[in-house]
């Protein structure tokens, strides 16, 4: 355990600083506001990806429903913005002015009571974090207390994503239905659609993301992080040592949910709308692949993975939409089959040894161990459930 911890302590700051430099200095200098806004949008998925690193890489719990929390955070923010955009003057054409347009289209004549808290920004900001976290707590508490985990937990999170999508689409008078909430304009009178606002939002987003990475790093380095890892590898031993394993998992799940929700809220602010298409299964799984490609054990890698996949998507879908789907498919399969530790794993096993060697002259490259192949346990797959990927490779 100590060895792991030492390795974690080493390095880490360097790559964090590099990432911060790229996001804060390089991108804004190199890109026009259109591309920068796109990067800002991608980075909101980065919140989900680092949440997944904590939950999946460290906790060994795979959630295929992170879109739920991303969406809830985004919707909470969107509700506030929508109310602000629906003042009686600009909605004068409606039969009931002063309520959001989609309510009017669905013959609602007054604002539902549960919308009222979203007239206040502080309450909205609390809701952005609190609602998804609470939902995450309820789901995960019910599951983990009964020791439901692994693949089965993953498909339950999927079911939740599905159910929420159907609810949002079905209750269109209250949620905007399949259209989502569109045409969001101002935040406390501040026009979020202008270029200057986009710059400011981008930097807020980057600040929050770097802060989240630092927070997760801190958790990883604390005893809690060590326990999460231990639990992922041998849950029973941790349990027999007297720890309440399920509560650690609940914590990891809630943390990932809260991070996703922040991402969702930032998405709404930067893109100007929220739609149920983020809540469903497809985006949730795509977000898992961001983390997987970056390296499921690496917070920084997850951010790079997110950027890489999304740049790829934008670039390829502009020129070859058909090819993109095949490529995406190949990416999924190869990241699972060939390099399960993602970009960070490749860096650890190929690039870093060389760097180290150059630095220390003829230092033994062996000191950095290549990620061991998942141990082959001759047990039934069923008993393997919950262990997830058995990789003990560390990087930050």
């Amino acid at each position: 355990m100590n060895a792991i911890k030492n390795r974690v302590m080493r390095g880490g700051y360097g790559s964090f600083v590099i990432l911060a430099f790229i996001l804060i200095v390089a991108f804004p200098l190199l890109m026009d506001i259109f591309r920068l806004n796109l990067v800002g949008k991608y980075l909101t998925y980065g919140f989900v990806a680092i949440g997944l690193v904590m939950l999946w890489g460290y906790g060994g719990v795979l959630s295929l429903g992170q879109g739920v929390f991303f969406g809830l955070g985004g919707y909470a923010m969107a509700m506030f913005l929508k109310l602000e955009a629906s003042d009686p003057v600009s909605t004068a054409i409606q039969s009931t002015p002063g309520i959001p347009d989609f309510m009017d289209w669905n013959q609602l004549t007054e604002l539902p009571a549960w919308w009222l808290p979203f007239k206040s920004l502080p309450l909205t900001l609390i809701a952005v974090i609190a609602i998804p976290t609470l939902l995450a707590f309820i789901i995960s508490y019910a599951m983990f207390k009964r020791r439901v985990g692994g693949v089965y937990f993953a498909i339950i999170t999927q079911a939740v994503a599905l159910i929420l999508t159907v609810l949002i689409i079905g209750q269109q008078g209250y949620t905007g239905g399949v259209n989502g909430m569109t045409d969001l304009k101002t935040l406390m009178g501040w026009d979020i659609r202008t270029d200057s606002a986009k710059y400011i939002l981008y930097f807020i987003n980057v600040g929050l993301l770097l802060g989240s990475i630092a927070l997760c790093r801190w958790i990883q380095l604390s005893k809690l992080g060590t326990l999460l890892l231990a639990m992922r590898d041998k849950e029973d031993r941790v349990r027999f040592s007297g720890y309440d394993v399920s509560m650690f998992k609940v914590f990891a799940f809630c943390l990932a949910a809260a991070l996703s929700a922040i991402g969702g809220a930032m998405f709404t602010l930067q893109v100007g709308f929220m739609s149920p298409s983020f809540v469903g299964i497809v985006p949730s799984i795509e977000m898992v692949i961001f983390a997987a490609i970056g390296g499921r054990m690496s917070l920084i890698g997850a951010v790079y993975g997110t950027l890489l996949v999304n740049f790829g998507k934008t670039y390829f879908s502009e020129s070859f939409p058909d090819l993109w789907l095949f490529l995406m498919s190949a990416l999924f399969i190869s990241v699972v089959m060939v390099f399960p530790n993602g970009l960070a794993g490749l860096y650890e096993s190929h690039v870093k040894p060389r760097l180290v060697r150059r630095k220390s002259g003829s230092g033994p490259a062996k000191s950095i161990e290549t990620p061991p192949k998942p141990a082959a346990t001759p047990s039934t797959p069923a008993s393997d459930i919950g262990l997830g990927a058995k990789v003990s490779n560390q990087s930050a």
Partner: protein, 418 residues
Amino acid sequence: MSSKSDQSKMSLDRRRLLQGLAALPLVSMSGLSFGQAFPTTKVNTTGLAITDTEVTVGQLHSATGTMAISETGSIQAEQLAIDEINAMGGILGRKIKVIKEDGASDWPTFAEKSRKLLVNDKVATVFGCWTSASRKAVLPIFEKENGLLYYPTFYEGLEQSKNVIYTGQEATQQIIWGLDWAQKEKGAKKFFLVGSDYIWPRTSMKIARKHIENFQKGSVVGEEYYPLGNTNFNSLINKIKIAKPDCIFCAVVGGSNVAFYKQLKAAGITANKQFLLTLSVTEDEMLGIGGENFEGFYASMKYFQSLENDNNKKFVAAFKAKYGPKAVIGDVTQAAYLGPWLWKAAVEKAGSFDVDKVVAASPGIELKTAPEGYVKIHENHHLWSKTRIGMGQADGQFKVVAESPELIEPNPFPKGYQ
């Protein structure tokens, strides 16, 4: 209202006069001389992607994902129109260059791509979107960046934007005349309304219900919405059997559509026993439903492939020559085909590609070469158009059985229907 319909009569008369002139050669004869007559600095004062020989436009539809089923026709029709315009020498002496973007059936992607087209590529106009959701997602961007969108789908109305030209019908155009026909010709008094659960069917049914109850003095004996993608309609069919409506009036879309008609037929509800009028089955949907499952039911649309007129014969022939003899053309496909032509006419009237000038020139633009007959852009950016009733045939085509005598005025914010 009455003065408006007088107007439409007048324009009809004028159409007859002008028909002899056969508009086409008028535009095509000029060719290269436009290039000198319209220097780029004059026709493009807002920095759009226009050179002396080329004008760049965007095309934004779903080539992948669930909506590719529907949007493929629009992509093809717009491409056909652009090719034809280029073959005639282009617009103001400039060939049209298309940047194709894939919305991937995902509304946020539509938003991202539309911003890319407008901000990055500086396209002169965009032809695109299909679902209401995708249009709602891109609308604020078009308004903010002052772009221009030609939107082909029949839709729910309740919208009018300076930056959008709606080439499909809005709800009242499609619904009201169809309902009146159902009452007059089929004696329908009791209606059962069925739709997929989203904004377009809900708004359409709201308009239908008001019209049936307040104007036709008929009754609505049932109103049901099913989630998008629902594939099981047996319980609904039993409810219809209990209600015994004169007319099933429906707006079911997507994969649900196929399941709905297959299950109707399997439950013994066929055209010889039951009158059914739909807003959402075009020749494109018939490919999936299968003609034998829709035979004898009716659809209310502004265009059917089997429409008898010279414009349409030419259009169908050109479409099949380009996309194969099995290609079919639905209402939206035809509306998408109108987009580039309407834009061309507006640009030439304005003598400029500037969005503001094109928008200002758009109201009143007529298209006599439209496959659906004659259309004209209204002040509210929708099209005056006729509504037709088609009866489904076993081969997947429609037989046009009725046609509104006048052009119907678009009325996206109908009074008394909200």
